[in-house]
């Protein structure tokens, strides 16, 4: 493919990609298996899809997970963008180190610790001020926003550092108020990063099992909680069907997002190139 890449590197890449994709491809293939025993092939069939569509608890879990994911992504993008702006554009401020640490820590903190500490915190809070009255939707959403905002902040910080500040400075020179500069220049240029952050926060929330299991209450089953309780006892063909739908959904979303961002980036580069030529 490329003469810069040695044969060894090409082989490693191929083997690595096979390693990454074969398990998922098999998962998809077995969802169309007629047999009740997942790895025993019994001919092509879509019966597990109809089994899946008929089970009501799956639908309510999907609905709850989507609701949490959308609210989480929106708040996390908002908070994460603010945090990213503060870290990159505000220079030094008091307690910046503590702020920075709290922004990085959720990225690497084992979920089990975050989950346990949040649950204990919610229960203590209830003893203290009587809120949250019951665990479930609200507590899961809060927990998800807390770690998602850190991921959004990383994306925003990376974008802000890559962005030159000339446009903002020019606007300030021409008399624009700082707030106007933020809304008219900085935020629109940050938009692709915010979209990426929103999508990341959305999928992180849909994906989370451990933290949600800790902070949920009776009756509030998110999709991962439901899947986990079923597969703990072994393989289930209807879960293969569900997995196939989820994998295809995510793949299509990511592909569209990548395409949009790629186009927008190119258009922006073009705009900047034209502007630069007109200036000179």
């Amino acid at each position: 493919m490329n003469r810069n890449r040695s044969r060894f590197l090409s082989i490693m890449l191929t083997v690595g990609l096979i390693f990454l994709y074969v398990p998922m491809i098999l998962l998809v293939i077995y969802s169309f298996n007629f047999s009740k025993l997942v790895p025993v092939w019994g001919g092509w069939s879509t019966r597990w899809y109809s089994v899946l569509f008929q089970s009501e608890d799956v639908w309510s879990a999907v609905l709850l997970s989507l609701k949490i994911a959308v609210i989480n992504a929106t708040f996390a993008t908002l908070l994460g963008t603010l945090a990213g702006l503060a870290m990159v554009r505000f220079g030094r401020f008091r307690l910046r180190t503590l702020f920075g640490s709290m922004l990085v820590a959720p990225l690497v903190m084992p979920e089990i610790i975050t989950g346990l500490s949040l649950l204990v915190f919610f229960i203590s809070l209830k003893q203290l001020i009587g809120w949250p009255t019951e665990r479930g939707f609200t507590t899961i959403t809060i927990a998800h926003i807390t770690f998602s905002l850190a991921y959004v902040a990383v994306i925003i910080q990376a974008r802000l550092t890559g962005m030159d500040q000339n446009l903002e400075e020019a606007a300030l020179d021409l008399g624009a108020k700082p707030f106007k500069v933020l809304t008219a220049i900085t935020l629109p240029r940050l938009a692709p990063g915010m979209v990426a952050g929103w999508l990341l926060a959305f999928t992180l929330s849909l994906d989370d099992l451990v933290i949600a299991s800790f902070v949920t209450g009776p009756g509030a089953n998110t999709l991962p909680i439901l899947i986990f309780s079923r597969i703990r006892l072994g393989l289930r063909p209807d879960i293969n069907a569900l997995a196939t739908i989820i994998i295809l959904f995510v793949a299509i979303c990511v592909a569209i997002a990548a395409l949009i961002m790629f186009r927008q980036q190119r258009r922006q580069e073009l705009d900047e190139a034209i502007a630069a030529r007109e200036m000179s």
């Binding site: 493919m1 490329n2 590197l9 890449l13 690595g16 990609l17 390693f19 994709y21 398990p23 998922m24 098999l26 998962l27 790895p39 908070l79 994460g80 945090a83 503060a86 990159v88 505000f90 401020f93 702020f99 920075g100 709290m102 990085v104 990225l107 690497v108 903190m109 084992p110 979920e111 089990i112 346990l116 500490s117 915190f121 203590s124 003893q127 809060i142 926003i145 807390t146 905002l149 910080q157 400075e169 020179d173 700082p178 707030f179 999928t203 994906d207 099992l209 451990v210 986990f228 703990r232 072994g234 393989l235 879960i239 997995a243 989820i246 994998i247 995510v250 990511v254 592909a255 990548a258």
Partner: protein, 317 residues
Amino acid sequence: MTVVNHSDERANHFSNALLDVLRRVQSGWRTIVILVPFAWLLIFFLAPFIVIAKISLAEVVIASPPFTRMIEWTDNGIMTIRIVFDNFLYIFDDDLYSRTYVNSLKVSIISTFFCLLIGYPMAYGIIRSGPLAKKMLLFAIILPFWTSFLLRVYAWMGLLADQGTINNILIWLGIIDDPVRMLYTEFAVYIGIIYTYLPFMILPLYANMEKLDQTLNEAAADLGSQPTNTFFKITLPLTVPGIIAGSLLVFIPATGEYIVPDLLGGGNVQMIGRLLYNEFSRNVDWPVASAVAIVLLFLLVLPMAIYQYYQGKAAEQ
């Protein structure tokens, strides 16, 4: 040149008084921008840690909440503070906990090593690809990262089971007669962790390698250095920050991993994440569970600090 002109112009444009007003207006909304996410993290990230630290120093009682209070007011208005280190002593005394901690670290370190071994050449291969291939490959690495962690682990249950795909293929090929037990072994846990965490290794490595100056390699080649020699003397040392970032991004969460040891290890592989979860959900011993979490946090605080240091340095560049 332009930079100097620019700042000169700027000084001319604004009088000092105007700048002052500007600064004051700016600091108003600046405070809000900082304060909102800061307050959120203080309340929902830092405060919970303080709470578990407090509970880890309490005693278990049959009540709601099931632990003693640290500060209590008696009827006479006397405040008593009780701090109990029993939970920590219990963890250190009990062989089960120390063995589980050591085993978690072992599994995590070995998995990290294999992720690096597989991930490094993959990241380097992506760097060395053409512009379009690079984009496609990067997309291929990121895609599994976006799909469900739980389902990716589940996929391996189907591969490794006694009646699973791998055993079926091996029997069909005549290599083995009876299925080899792979699911619910330590081997399965290694596979699961390496598989799910591989993208976390590749992406920081890629980000680091992308900044490398490829002309260094050409210069070395012009001066007669063999490719292998160039790699070990130039490329490898320059990618150390990427290696450290990627390794920590795998090592830290893998140490506390719950899903992989539970689904692929069954009860046969003891890891601290699983022990903690069970301690908590079955025994409802909150003080001990909190103490287990605090000890785990202590084990990981140094790697986390190192990771943060490298993150900060990468951001400055």
